[in-house]
Symmetry: none
Subunit: 247 residues, 2 copies
């Protein structure tokens, strides 16, 4: 069964949602049969390649949100992150455009498709951690090359792909698919092409959605006697107790 996740890098709820989903998946009985695919999304395509100020300054100056409200939001999100074992450090976050990071993710996806590896998940995890926990510039080439290499990609290949823009169209195609699906915010989870979960919902809700989608894709096959067989009413059920008794 497929789970498709649209998410950005500069998106605090995306990392938290990743953890909450992963926790649900870890307890899911059929987790070995779930294929998770990360898709690109950009919350703010207008973000500069680099910006010489803090995240708080960017949000308050460029977006016009009052500084104290931004600080409040940081606190709220950092607490939620801590609840999932993530150590957000908004003071050190480096404002950067995530497009090149998404291209790196798609290079990893292409390798995974060839080799059956799971480099994309490692890259996604490392990009989020670098951005929110370690004050790294996920728009900088050297950071992207290091993250990719640590995940198992070849440094020369990363540089070549980013130089040539090999995966620019793949990123754009993901964003177009998100629009076609009506996605207006991230993280957004699509289970088995059918069920949508918007936002960093509690793990319990992800667990419930996984159960629902799985059960629908894999309904129980009923084994029964032929209709009219001895000892059966209509053949479908054996003797059974229900809410109305054991008739």
């Amino acid at each position: 069964m497929n789970v498709d996740i649209w998410s950005d890098i500069a998106c605090p709820w995306c990392f938290i949602g990743k953890r909450r989903f992963e926790n649900a998946l870890a307890d899911f009985p059929h987790k070995d049969q779930i294929t998770v695919t990360w898709h690109s999304y950009q919350l703010d395509p207008t973000l500069p390649e680099h910006y010489d100020g803090s995240e708080l300054e960017y949000l308050s100056q460029r977006k016009g949100t009052p500084a104290d409200r931004v600080a409040q939001m940081f606190d709220h999100v950092a607490q939620a992150a801590a609840g999932e074992g993530l150590e957000y450090d908004f003071g050190s976050v480096v404002v950067a455009n995530s497009y090149a990071g998404h291209e790196l993710l798609h290079l990893a996806k292409a390798k995974d498709a060839e080799a059956g590896t799971s480099l994309a998940d490692a890259v996604k995890e490392a990009l989020l951690s670098a951005h929110f926990e370690h004050g790294e510039d996920i728009g900088a080439r050297d950071v992207l090359v290091r993250i990719g290499a640590e995940a198992g990609l070849d440094s020369a290949e990363i540089n070549a792909a980013l130089d040539a823009g090999t995966y620019r169209d793949s990123v754009a195609a993901d964003i177009r698919r998100a629009q076609a699906l009506g996605i207006q915010g991230v993280p957004f989870f699509v289970l088995d092409n059918k069920y949508g979960v918007s936002g960093a919902q509690p793990s319990e809700l992800f667990a419930q959605a996984l159960d629902t989608a799985w059960r629908e894709a894999n309904p129980l096959v009923m084994v029964s006697q032929p209709a009219g067989a001895e000892g059966t009413a209509e053949g479908l059920d054996g003797d059974v107790c229900g809410p109305d008794g054991c008739a």
Copy 2:
């Protein structure tokens, strides 16, 4: 999901449109759940069984289009075909009535309906290629028998069906359905009995139409907490980042 395609054989844009649609379908995530059905249409029912001149002569003498304009049209269409990897050779095209070719297509459709094969697509492809790329007479019995046999039909069955006119009514019924749908030119694509695409549109447009029709037929079912549940605004979204921030 069904895609119904009305198209003729002696129809240069029909072959080009077939390729452009196929390219979109190849990239469509749910392609395994798309059933393509070829329907018959005749652009020119008055075409003779055989004609001892070139396509250019036929169009200029019988239809009154100036020869240089016909030649210009051939150039334009051949270039578009080349863009899709098709090698049109208008100089060698054999003018022929396509009705018997459509009967062959319907024999293949009948076999597909019985056996779950996809002979009709192979027959349609071979008829178009024979006509536009290989200067073959798609009105000639031996050509039709060879094309059908190569696609996997039985030669004796082809001859019997064409002798008896077994599928003449099926071809006529397709053409009547086209008229009922208001189709005035081909190729014409109907997605999920709802969306129409007229002509050899770019692959991107077919991709978009497939997305739209699919999404409408299979809307995401949102999994969410009950309205008013703790930690949710209206219960529908979890914590989410959108274009206006992560509030």
